[in-house]
Amino acid sequence: MSEFNPEDTLIAVLAGLEVKVAEIQRELRRLKALARNLEEENTRLRAWLTEAASEIKGEDKLRLLYEQGYHICPAQFGRVRSTEGCLFCHSFLEKRG
């Protein structure tokens, strides 16, 4: 029977931690890439929405966009809004109406 060596245990624990840290770093890299892609996609979609809105002639379509849950006020155009209304979108619609 071999003698108990505390250093072996410590090294084993550290090696285990090293593996876990490496896994966390890999996951972090993956999430960072995902966040970057989502940000790029969001920018593209907002640009698309802005372009689409400039082609919208009637107030009804902007209202529809607002009621579908998007901001139509210039400050936050195209961003998803909460279920409660937005004072600025409301005022924007009123002015166009």
Binding site: T83, F88, H90, S91
Partner: protein, 372 residues
Amino acid sequence: MRVTCPQPLLLSAVQKLHRVITTNSPLPALTGILIKAHDKRLSFHATDLEMGILLDMEADIEEEGELLLPARLLTDIVRHLPPVNVHIDGVAGGVVTLSYQQSRVELYSLDPGQFPALPDAQGTASFRVPAETFKEAIKKVGIAAGNEDLRSIYHGILWEIDPSTGEFTMVATDTHRLSLQRGKVVVLEGKQEAAPIIPHRTLAELARLLGSEGEVTFTLGSSQIFAAAENLVFYGRLLNGQFPPYRQVLPSSFATEAIMDAQEITLAVERALVLARDDSRLRSPIIRLQVEGGLKLSTQAPEVGQIEEELQAEISGPGLEVALNGKYLLSALKVIDEDRVILKFNEPLKPVVVQGLGNEDYFCLILPVRIG
């Protein structure tokens, strides 16, 4: 550094600083309080880089110097010391001894060289406000500041200063509601209009530190605002970005007005909120206000019950019914000091104004919600 300071004063100083200190900062120096002894004064400085506090007090200084001590540990130890003189003795980066009566505690000092320097309070505009005016304004305007994203413009308070009239306007909005307070300042420097946007958390922290007496002098820098009052210097980072054009959403006239006792409606809304369960679709406790002869306030909570209250109110204009987020209405009512309150309406889906009767300097605007 060698100084002697009464425990109650020491405790008061470290407790005031404690709230800006981050416990898990990547910069170890930010977890500490920088204590400096110079010119017969003892100063305490803490910052989380978003804002900073510098407190100053008289102390018995035997040897000038500076120490950076871990904030949490220092506060906990000082809190448990007896209310006697505490003698602080130590060298930067070394062991610091806190002696009291026949006892002593030893703490390891952090490196004060790593602590951020106090920003230079240079600015293009400077103005003075009574502390009480500032505290009241923050309390009233802050209710409408958003709190989801602390770096967002909607978490900020727009503070417009007009040097030509000596007037200020403070505005906050989370897009569902908006609160606005007007007041007077004494302009000390600067002729251009200023309109910084300052995080609500920063201004609320400053308001907490100020007493109700005296005045606060503000200096506006390009990226920071500085405040000085008695033995306090405070600084905070400004928010970048453009505040939404709030004037566009302020109604210029109203079709219907209802005047009532402020306490009566506040208590009625509180009762209704006890019952109003969050609507799963709107995620808000909805309160209906029916204006017709008087004011009927009601809320329905499916599977729970309903409440209906009739309040005495002086009504002018045509009747209507609006639905509001009850929490927004209550927060506006709670910051109104007047005995009577006025609610101003146009149409069921147009913004409602909540205001103290006769007080034209403050109001809260709430956008009603659409109900089925």
